[in-house]
Symmetry: C2
Subunit: 166 residues, 2 copies
Amino acid sequence: MSYQVPRMNELESRAWLSLVWTAELLPAALDAQLQAESGMTHFEFIVLSTLRQADDGALQTKDLAAAVNSTMPRLSRVVGKLATRGLVERIGGQDDARVINVHLTGAGRRALVRAVPGHIALVKRLVIDRLDAQQLEVLAGALEPLVGRLDPHNRVGFAAVQHMAE
Amino acid sequence: MSYQVPRMNELESRAWLSLVWTAELLPAALDAQLQAESGMTHFEFIVLSTLRQADDGALQTKDLAAAVNSTMPRLSRVVGKLATRGLVERIGGQDDARVINVHLTGAGRRALVRAVPGHIALVKRLVIDRLDAQQLEVLAGALEPLVGRLDPHNRVGFAAVQHMAE
DNA sequence: GGTAAGAAGTTGTATTGACAACTACTGGGT
DNA sequence: ACCCAGTAGTTGTCAATACAACTTCTTACC
């Protein structure tokens, strides 16, 4: 008499569990490596990377927030801290006085450039070098649509780590 | 004259980016669904699920912490809150007075049972039903070793969601 | 059997992030 | 010209979690 509850078979459970635990454990590993070797969080790394890829090394706060999937308050505080460290600079917009453009400074660019090799090394050691081309293909093909579904506004900045590619 | 920096090709970048953004976005989606429909966080859900699967619905705090990948302080506070809500009960160990055994109560079991269908529905809608058997196979095969590498103590409780399976 | 090293669990303190409230500014409608 | 609805960004407040310090208890060793 019990009504039917949706279930998952064993393969589905394995895939789901591995994904959930990856999502739980991966951020801490990225933060730990970047913090230890470069004194920045993974989120700060993404912010700097995103700026570096922008046309003139600068983005409006709102657009930067969208690109790094951040709320405005969070980004405001992180940018404030990056600014006191001299890694970014906040410059008010000319045409619209409400706007703040966040610029990557020379020091910020250098800090990022120093941080990248160690970070890529971790990523390769942890993930990339353990997978063959078919696995990489399936992983990207499976997760990219998922990200699209997860991102409420569908505009996560896939650009953030593009500079890692050749 | 510049020394070589490790790089990733485009396929590697795509796989990596989709994985990082999944890790960033997935936890919020799980919390939002469980909070809205069942009034609990995903972490609380995992704690209750883990207890439910334990032999007698109870685990020692330290073992529970290991199974759900939590620090002791974090778990102590979460269990405290679950106890005030009547979902678990803390019972001191008989042989060792330092030990606390965390027991799932009837109310806790009922709350979990009520929460499961909606959660599984989300998981299927978001991930499982979008992937075919080959993708599920590759996903699990790629991520399970990764979780092993990410878990410093190699004892993450893959049991936590097993009851979702038939 | 007394003591010291260490384990289990809780609590103090600081940081991070979310949501909401606020300030400052813009632009459309009249 | 003025008001008002809406946007950009910051700050207030609170919950969550990490690390460290603490309490209590156990066990190994002499």
